[in-house]
């Protein structure tokens, strides 16, 4: 049997949400078999953070959770950044689990000194930018467990992951959250949900849903294998994008009734023409609430 890839999971400024999300991976028994976790913040691995800080373990994959703060955040007696940087230099691949590690995320919103590993929001100026070439970003707040499983498995199989401009895997983030949303037909015909707590209607026009311009596969690779925020009735809040979270998240920003942000890659005129036409028709099947 080939040597199991050694994974070290270190944290910066975080809420632990990515660790907990990862623990939901349905493939956990297989993951523990195929990968050797040198350290994980939630479960025992045989090593303590203190021993990780004292020694120099040889690792294959460094998983970073949380934003990076150069100074003022000690863990096990060492600046957490120092520890992360040490293992960043040893690791063959660095996987940023979640928006904070990828872009700074909400941790950066609270403390402007916090950055992501390769990026600081949209700018490629994260504290570990010099290691960019081996960084893979898996933003999300939190990360979807299967996104991380994908990155781990691609590594184990020696596969190269195609990345977008923000170093996100195209296979996972080459789509929008809108794709696969069960409310798509309502989007097409411009029929808003007109309130929360309903199965029917789109959340893009009035309720702030960012699905049409947010990169992610939440509606293709479902959460818990069963649902997603938009399916359940909650607008997408754009948690895979640099700069997350924006503000006024449950209301669509409009300029003279026109959404301020267009669906990804759709020119404004094309959008206005299409929606103008869609709006002209009254599709009774969709307009009339079934429930």
């Amino acid at each position: 049997m080939a040597r199991r890839p050694r994974v070290l999971w270190l944290q910066g400024v975080t809420c632990n949400g990515d660790s907990h999300s990862f623990l939901n991976a349905s493939e956990m028994p297989q993951i523990l078999e195929k990968f050797h976790f040198v350290y994980h913040p939630l479960f025992e691995t045989g090593y303590t953070l203190e021993s990780i800080a004292k020694e120099y373990f040889d690792i294959d994959i460094l998983v970073i959770e949380g934003g990076l703060l150069k100074k003022g955040f000690k863990r096990a007696g060492v600046e957490s950044f120092e520890l992360i940087e040490r293992y960043a230099s040893i690791a063959k691949q660095i996987v940023c689990a979640g928006n904070c590690a990828s872009f700074g995320g909400i941790s950066r919103k609270m403390d402007r000194n916090v950055t992501g590993a390769a990026f600081c929001e949209q700018e490629p100026t994260g504290l570990l930018a010099s290691y960019s070439s081996k960084i893979i970003n898996l933003p999300g707040c939190p990360i979807h467990p299967q996104w991380l499983v994908y990155a781990l498995e691609m590594n184990r199989h020696g596969q190269t992951i195609e990345l977008d401009e923000f170093r996100r895997p195209v296979e996972l983030y080459g789509y929008t959250v809108h794709e696969g949303c069960t409310r798509n037909e309502y989007f097409e015909w411009k029929i808003d949900a007109k309130g929360f707590g309903v199965r029917e209607g789109c959340l893009f026009y009035e309720h702030g849903c960012q699905g049409p311009f947010t990169h992610g596969s939440c509606n293709k690779i479902l959460w818990g294998g069963v649902s997603s925020k938009t399916r359940a009735g909650m607008p997408c809040i754009g948690c895979t994008e640099p700069g997350f979270p924006s503000t006024n998240l449950f209301e669509t920003k409009t300029l003279m009734s026109i959404p301020a942000k267009m669906p990804l890659g759709v020119p404004k005129r094309a959008y206005l023409t299409m929606t103008g036409i869609a709006k002209a028709f009254k599709i009774e099947r969709l307009e009339k609430k079934k429930f």
Partner: protein, 436 residues
Amino acid sequence: MKIERFIERIEGEATLLFDKNRDGSIRFVEIFFPHIRGMEKFLERKPALDALAIAPRVCGICGHAHLVSAAKALESCYENAGIELNISAKAEAIRSLTLSLEIIQNHFKWFYLTLLPATEGFETKKDKSVLTAHHAASLCSRAIAHLAGQWPHTSYALPGGVMCDPTHVEMLQTESLLAQIDEVFKNSILQLDPKDACKIAKVETLFEKNGDFPDLLRYFRKKGWERVGQSHDRFIVLANHPIGGAGKAIKTRLAPIDILSAKEDEAIAPEGFINHAKPVRYNRRFYEAGPLARAMVAKSYLIRQMHRRYKDASLSRITARVMEIAKLLEYCKKTLDSIDLSEPSYVPPPVSLKEIESTRGQGYVEAARGSLLHGVHLYRGKITRYCITTPTQWNLANGTPEYPGVAQKAMIGLPNEKVAEMVFKSFDICSVCTTQ
């Protein structure tokens, strides 16, 4: 002699500074959380509803409790402005259901990933523990996802109700998941149907059962640890919850509470140490929050019996938490059954918060680790002040040697730091919540 000890895997970390007697026993101990993220400040100037998305991100394991607290705090903003909201029984039940599921997954994780590894000498299979915690937690998350879209970090509750509109199929799927969680419970922690577990009336019966929890009980007895971890014997429960009501208890004497008497102080630390955990007290006295407090205030027959023998020792604390799993599972099944899907999920508030000049509100829930309180001030729909008080702030508050906090008191006098760490972890600590 002073010894620093770094404590890991408590949803982050903390540092304990032990002051030890010559025989190695603990004379005094101080607890430090050296980092703060700044959630409360970040919420200022935000539109009120943004709290629903931001507040859950205080914590990766109890974010849902933060969501419900935030939603309730905003609802109380309406109430305090004289505007009545109509929350359907269905919405209340769904919120309570998902919150309970979050508590259940927490308790499993705490037992297998935090407590057992901290119990020195207790034999466990490492991978089996991880997988049991994983299995229970992922089933809970999936059940929450049916209603709330995902876990962690959903924002599906809002003033007026919930955003979901489940069908009978999703209800049945949730029920099926609850049955699977029952199985995990039965195959691991306590080899009984949760329904039968709830009927256990004698402490001795628990000791005689099979499962990882009775094994641990017997181990505690073997080590003579039944009474370790006793503290002030004062309990507080700020919110009504599935198993009982709000209130406080000094030993077994119950009294009602006035939420205004719960006060947060500034965090203190000796020179050279940084601490960001603000202590919380009730009428200037330290109280324990969490499952033991809930069971004591709810006058749980079994836990009171345990308390009669061992007072508020770690063993009582652990038992209360494990037995809460069974009770919550039963509650979830009953609640699921009671939901009338024809009721509205969401009744829009009559006005937007923007239309209210100035108001304030408080929202509190019982989270996995105890009482969680969110306080908010609004001006024309914008947050001007946000204050979060977490359960760990009750339990881990630092006091003085003369007047120690709850966890401090529980550790003082213990024979060594190893046992102290176990007692410390019996509180189920959340570092990230404390340093939000």
